[in-house]
């Protein structure tokens, strides 16, 4: 088995090269100054599914150094938006990593205003060095490639891979998350109404969804998971509310997106719940959400990937030359509306370009089984 390198290697290399280049430039101008460094006792974590006892959380100690000297009372931040983490007298700090969510989070110095090295405030000479200190925390699922076989297209290969999960991890992959309720609101004469809001709320119980305001064509949409619902249906236009007849509820079918066309009454506030004033049809598509993998290759490399099955197995169809460069994988949590009739499921191939990497997605070098 090939040894796995730490995820996020590419990003770290990039940072490293930048720092190295910057250091060279520095060195040309003056004598080499020490650099800032963030040392983490562990920066790479295999993802672990959520546990009710909180054991998916890991405490990590670290240290901020300038050369070999600790930087006290500096502020660090994870992911550019996390807690401000102050360093102690010995430059040490501690942070908590949530291993249930895949991520690649940079740890950087956010402020050195109150910071001290050897008890002295940080001068301008040291500032750049301290600010350049950087590390990253990566949480990822290991990926294993089981076999690579020729594709029907001789220029491509089919790569069979899987997410390697711990036996007691219970994780689902990419699948339907919500359905769409969309349609049109028009006046009694059939003219579209702009800025109307359609609201469904559960008749016996709680839970609701409100639509986007209708556009110039009277179109609205909202995303919801109907539980075979009986709901109230309300249309709000300015301060006016239109509702179903007294005692009537709306039946939302289960497991489908729907189209609801509503024509408001000429007078009063009661929607006549029969066609053509209320026309309800099922419609295509759903919002999907979940874990997918892809290859960290230039965006013009055309490859496709399938939705992982229950065991986390997926197949990539990749140009042979791209695969031979041993690209890293990336893992991503994706949410996307897909407007096709047939529901997607594990094993279905996603279109080329469907899965794109983001900065915060962990990169992983796969092992070969």
């Amino acid at each position: 088995m090939k040894k796995m390198t730490k995820a996020g290697l590419c990003a770290l290399l990039a940072v490293g090269i930048t720092l190295w280049t910057a250091a060279l430039t520095d060195a040309e101008a003056r004598t080499e100054a020490p650099r800032g460094r963030i040392e983490l006792e562990q920066s790479s974590f295999v993802a672990k599914s959520w546990r009710s006892d909180g054991s998916h959380l890991a405490d990590v100690k670290g240290k901020l150094l300038y050369g070999e000297r600790p930087v006290a009372n500096a502020l660090l931040q994870m992911d550019g938006k996390g807690r401000s983490i102050a360093t102690g007298e010995d430059g040490s700090f501690e942070l908590t990593v949530d291993r249930s969510l895949i991520a690649n989070k940079a740890v950087r110095v956010s402020s050195f205003q109150e910071a001290k090295i050897d008890g002295k405030p940080i001068g301008s000479e040291e500032a750049d060095g301290v600010l350049s200190a950087s590390s990253a925390v990566t949480i990822y699922h290991p990926i294993e490639v089981s076999r690579v076989e020729p594709s029907e297209d001789a220029s491509k290969v089919r790569v069979h891979a899987r997410f390697k999960l711990a036996a007691d991890d219970n994780i689902a992959f990419f699948r339907i998350d919500k359905y769409r309720i969309a349609g049109q609101v028009s006046d009694y004469n059939g003219n579209p109404i702009k800025d109307a809001v359609v609201w469904i709320d559960r008749d016996k119980g709680e839970g609701f969804a409100k639509s986007t305001p209708t556009d110039k064509d009277g179109r609205y949409e909202m995303y919801y998971w109907p539980e075979d619902e009986e709901t109230n249906l309300t249309v709000i236009v300015g301060t006016r509310r239109y509702e179903l007849p007294e005692g009537k509820v709306f039946n939302l079918p289960r497991n489908t997106s729907v189209d609801i066309r509503i024509r408001l009454p000429k007078e009063g506030s009661t929607i006549d719940d029969k066609p053509p004033t209320l026309v309800c049809t099922t419609s295509e598509g759903a919002t999907y959400h979940g874990l997918l993998a892809g290859l960290d290759v230039p965006s013009d490399v055309p490859y496709s990937v399938s939705i992982p099955d229950r065991e986390g197995r997926f197949v990539l169809t990749v140009p042979k030359d791209a695969w031979e460069k041993s690209p890293l994988f990336f893992e991503t949590q994706l949410t996307k509306f897909i407007g096709q009739d047939k529901a997607l499921k594990g094993g279905d191939e996603l279109p080329v370009g469907f899965v794109q990497p983001r900065e915060q997605d962990p990169r992983v070098e796969a092992t070969m089984s």
Binding site: G205, E206, F250
Partner: protein
């Protein structure tokens, strides 16, 4: 009735002229801040803050103190003189600003003679607590407020005050900090900038009051029924940046653990304020139901930590203990109301407890330090729970509870906890099984429409139940006309005050279990418990009313006894879990 509403402009000018005084760093303490305490000589002259009076006993946070036990040590108003209570001042919030929305659920916070009241639609008023003069008023920009209507419910339950700031959560998942003296906006953040996915579009919204403690602002959220993932988060009061590395998530992320099979997932939102034990730094909070509400097949097991009371270290965000009230809920039985931390006598010994009554109609008491059960599943409503079927079954309590968000009070003199209850069943219909449901073969077919709703012809009512904490048994229960949606507040003179949905407010003799005073306010729908405070030694009781006439009513001895017309009970969806 005295109506003395100064304009905001006047108040602000006044503030500009007057010199500032030191601010109270932790207003959650019920005791007055040192800077504000003084002699009682200048009773009616406003201080530098605009407040009348010089000595104050505060109602410093949502539940009086951070323990949320809603019991004040005041004794001026008693069973003997309660009939002398009248209106000292009232404020019609819609008159003050036409953009105030219906459905107020605000729990006033009173600090150093200034009362902070929020409104549906997220406006904040600072009133001189003794006179009702408006000291300042903040409202969101129209552009932001326009977004609020995307959430189904725009109620708000109040503010937290600390470090010279007033904190509020806006319905669009913003956290707002205002200058405590001027009401000027200091900072507003979007929670989604720090916590992924916390947006109205995803089903999250905010109605709860935040809590301030030791430099942090603690928040939860609403949206369980929309399938969001519940959390509690801590932000630094100084700059509204996160105080923890991660929120405390009450349920797994989508697609993990007990949510691995279910598509529309989540629940466990914390939609009422946390309680905090200032001796141990442990916070306690209640969590909402799992989602989907009525279809449980794909969320196997107990569904931790939904319908639970959870103890977390407030400094670190780490779990201390958790106890579930309803496992694998199929009835929308949130643990909704904030827990209380009480020092009570149990079987002859003093014990620090965390207590909570759920929408399940069951009341619980746990050891605050360990979570060990002290009293388990004490019923305070009719309990008749049946498994929902596609055809529907009637269960007690219904989807409103039990005890909804309305908070309990604890009277140490009688050792009674008083529970505001709702006695009303619901017809529960489960979704059809996966086998019966399938993706339609022919999209485009007219597959659905409307039908007549199933009606349960049982008229609901409300209750107030006294539980003797010594025995864990019901001491008595009184009935009220409508569901109890506001909550109770008790005084050291043995009275508990609570309102009703028709706009009446009552005083209960706690020991006797009898309502001894009733007053019809000029508002309707009391949907919050009163806050009780003193200014220069005089005791005041502040109620807000909601419904279509959002108002503030402040009572005191010698006030105006003119009563209003009976209001219309608002029995619609006031819940927001």
């Amino acid at each position: 009735m005295k109506k003395t509403h100064a304009t905001v402009g006047t108040a602000l000018s006044l503030l500009l002229v007057l010199s500032s005084c030191a601010t109270n760093n932790n207003a959650n303490n019920a005791s007055p801040s040192p800077t504000a305490t003084g002699t009682a000589s200048a009773t009616n002259s406003p201080t530098a803050t605009g407040a009348t009076g010089t000595s104050f006993e505060n109602w410093g946070s949502y539940g009086y103190t951070l323990a949320n036990n809603r019991h004040v040590p005041f004794k001026e108003i008693t069973a003997d003189n309660v009939n002398d209570l009248g209106v000292i001042w009232s404020a019609d919030l819609k008159t003050l600003d036409a953009d105030v929305k219906n459905g107020n659920q605000s729990y006033p916070v009173v600090v150093d003679g200034i009362m902070y009241v929020t409104t549906a639609g997220n406006q904040v008023f600072a009133f001189d607590a003794a006179t009702g003069n408006t000291i300042w008023h903040w409202k969101p920009e129209a552009e932001q407020a326009a977004n609020f209507s995307k959430a189904g419910i725009i109620a708000n339950r109040g503010v937290a005050v600390g470090e010279g700031k007033v904190f509020m959560l806006a319905v669009d998942n913003s956290l707002v900090s205002l200058d405590q003296k001027t009401g000027e906006l200091i900072k507003m953040i979007k929670l989604s900038d720090y916590i992924d996915g916390v947006t109205i579009e995803n089903g999250y919204y905010e109605t709860t009051a935040p809590q301030y403690y030791k430099g942090n602002v603690y928040i939860g959220s609403s949206g369980s029924d929309n399938g969001v993932r519940g959390f509690v988060a801590a932000f630094k009061a100084s700059d509204l940046t996160p105080a923890w590395d991660s929120p405390f998530w009450t349920v797994p992320p989508k697609g993990q653990d007990w949510l691995a099979k279910s598509a529309f997932q989540g629940g466990g939102t914390v939609w009422n304020p946390v309680a905090i034990d200032e001796e141990t730094d442990i916070m306690y909070f209640s969590t909402g139901n799992p989602a989907p509400d009525f279809y449980g097949e794909n969320r196997p097991g107990d569904n931790p930590y939904t319908d639970s009371v959870v103890a977390v270290n407030a400094m670190t965000g780490k779990l201390v203990w958790a106890k579930q009230e309803v496992s694998h809920d199929m009835w929308d039985y949130d643990a909704a109301a904030s827990p209380m931390i009480i020092n009570a006598t149990v079987k002859g010994a003093k014990k620090k407890l965390v207590v909570q009554g759920g929408k399940s109609g069951l009341w619980f008491a746990w050891d605050a330090a360990t979570g060990d059960t002290v009293w388990d599943k004490v019923p305070f409503t009719k309990i008749d729970k049946k498994d929902p079927t596609p055809e529907g079954t009637v269960s007690y309590p219904g989807v409103l509870g039990g005890e909804n968000y309305a908070p309990e009070t604890y009277d140490p003199n009688t050792n009674y906890v008083l529970i505001p209850g709702i006695e009303e069943p619901s017809l529960y219909k489960s979704a059809k099984t996966e086998a019966e449901a399938s993706t339609p073969d022919s999209p485009g077919a007219a597959a659905f429409g409307t039908s007549y709703e199933a009606v349960t012809d049982v008229k609901g009512y409300g209750t107030v139940t006294a539980i003797d904490v010594a025995t864990g048994k019901k001491a008595y229960q009184i009935k009220t006309t409508d569901a109890q949606r506001g909550g109770l507040t008790s005084t050291d003179s043995g009275l508990a005050f609570f309102g009703e949905l028709d706009g009446k407010i009552n005083a209960l003799d706690i020991k006797a279990g009898k309502v001894i005073w009733t007053f019809q306010t000029t508002g309707n729908s009391v949907q919050a418990a009163p806050s009780i405070f003193t200014v220069d030694g005089k005791e005041y009781i502040a109620f807000t009313t909601g419904g279509t006439k959002p108002m503030v009513h402040v009572f005191g001895l010698g006030g105006d006894k003119t009563q209003g017309q009976a209001g219309q009970a608002e029995t619609g969806n006031a819940h927001s879990g």
